[in-house]
C-alpha cells in the first residue's frame, strides 16, 4: 500500500449507490487494508425551522470532478491511504436520500478517520456544488455556512 498504489474513484451522478458495493471495491486495494472509514451524507428533513420536501443539486461538470480529485490527492500526500472513493449525487433528492459518500481504505484507522473528515471538509467548501431546498414555504438556495469554512480551515 505505497502511495503510488493508491486507487482513486470520483463519480458525480444522479443515481443512488450501494455503500456495501463501494466498500467491496475499496477492499480490492489489497490484503493490507485494515480499516475503511465511510462518510455518507443525507438530505435532512428540516432546515432552519422549515420542513424540507426535496432538494435540487447543481454542479459544474468537469471542474467538480477535478476539484474532488485534487482534494483526494492532497489527502493521499498527508496520510497513508490504500484507496479512496467519492460519489456525489446531483439532480432531485428527497428527504433521507444519500447525497454524498466518501470511503477511505487504509492500513490503520487513524489515517482513515483523518483523511475522510479532511476530504469532506474540503469538498464542502471547495467542490462546485450548489443545493436548492424546496420547503412548504417555497424554494431557496442554501447559503454557505461559516461552520463549514471553519471546519476546512482546521487542516
Amino acid at each position: 500500500m505505497t502511495e503510488a498504489a493508491i486507487s482513486i474513484a470520483v463519480l458525480v451522478q444522479s443515481d443512488d449507490f450501494d455503500p456495501t458495493e463501494q466498500e467491496a471495491a475499496l477492499l480490492s486495494a489489497g490484503a493490507g487494508v485494515g480499516a475503511i472509514v465511510a462518510f455518507t451524507g443525507y438530505v435532512r428533513g428540516h432546515s432552519g425551522g422549515s420542513t424540507v420536501e426535496r432538494m435540487e443539486l447543481e454542479h459544474y461538470p468537469g471542474m467538480t470532478e477535478n476539484a474532488i480529485r485534487g482534494i483526494v490527492e492532497q489527502a493521499a500526500q498527508r496520510w497513508a491511504l490504500g484507496a479512496v472513493s467519492v460519489i456525489h449525487r446531483v439532480g432531485t433528492l428527497r428527504v433521507s436520500e444519500r447525497i454524498v459518500y466518501v470511503g477511505v481504505a487504509s492500513a490503520h484507522r487513524g489515517d482513515g478517520f483523518a483523511a475522510c473528515e479532511f476530504i469532506m471538509d474540503y469538498l464542502k467548501t471547495r467542490a462546485p456544488f450548489w443545493k436548492k431546498e424546496y420547503t412548504e414555504g417555497g424554494e431557496r438556495w442554501v447559503e454557505a455556512r461559516q461552520s463549514d469554512s471553519e471546519a476546512a480551515s482546521r487542516w
Binding site: Y60, G62, I99, L123, P128, W130, W141, A144, R145
Partner: protein, 83 residues
C-alpha cells in the same frame, strides 16, 4: 472567443446559463465584469459585484486580476454548498 458560465443563484438571477463573447484586447476578469455590467445593467451589477462572487478561469479559482486569453472558460458562481 470566451465561454462564460453562471451557476446556481447567479444563473437564476441573470437567467443565463452560458454566453460566448469575443475577447477584447488585454482583457482581465475585471474588465470582462465591467463589460457585462455595462451591457446587462443593474441586475448584472448586483450579481457580479456581490461579495459572494467566486471566479474560476479554466476551472481554477482565481481573482479578478487574472488575464484572459482566447479560448478561456470563465465561471461566476456563489459559495459552494455541496456535501
Amino acid at each position: 472567443m470566451m465561454r462564460i458560465l453562471f451557476f446556481a443563484d447567479f444563473r437564476e438571477q441573470l437567467d443565463t446559463r452560458q454566453l460566448e463573447l469575443e475577447l477584447d484586447e488585454s482583457c482581465t476578469v475585471s474588465t470582462l465584469i465591467a463589460r457585462l455590467i455595462r451591457q446587462g445593467g443593474e441586475n448584472w451589477r448586483r450579481v457580479l459585484e456581490s461579495d459572494n462572487l467566486v471566479i474560476a478561469v479554466n476551472q481554477t479559482i482565481c481573482d479578478a486580476g487574472k488575464n484572459l486569453v482566447d479560448g478561456d472558460e470563465i465561471a461566476f458562481y456563489p459559495p459552494v454548498t455541496g456535501g
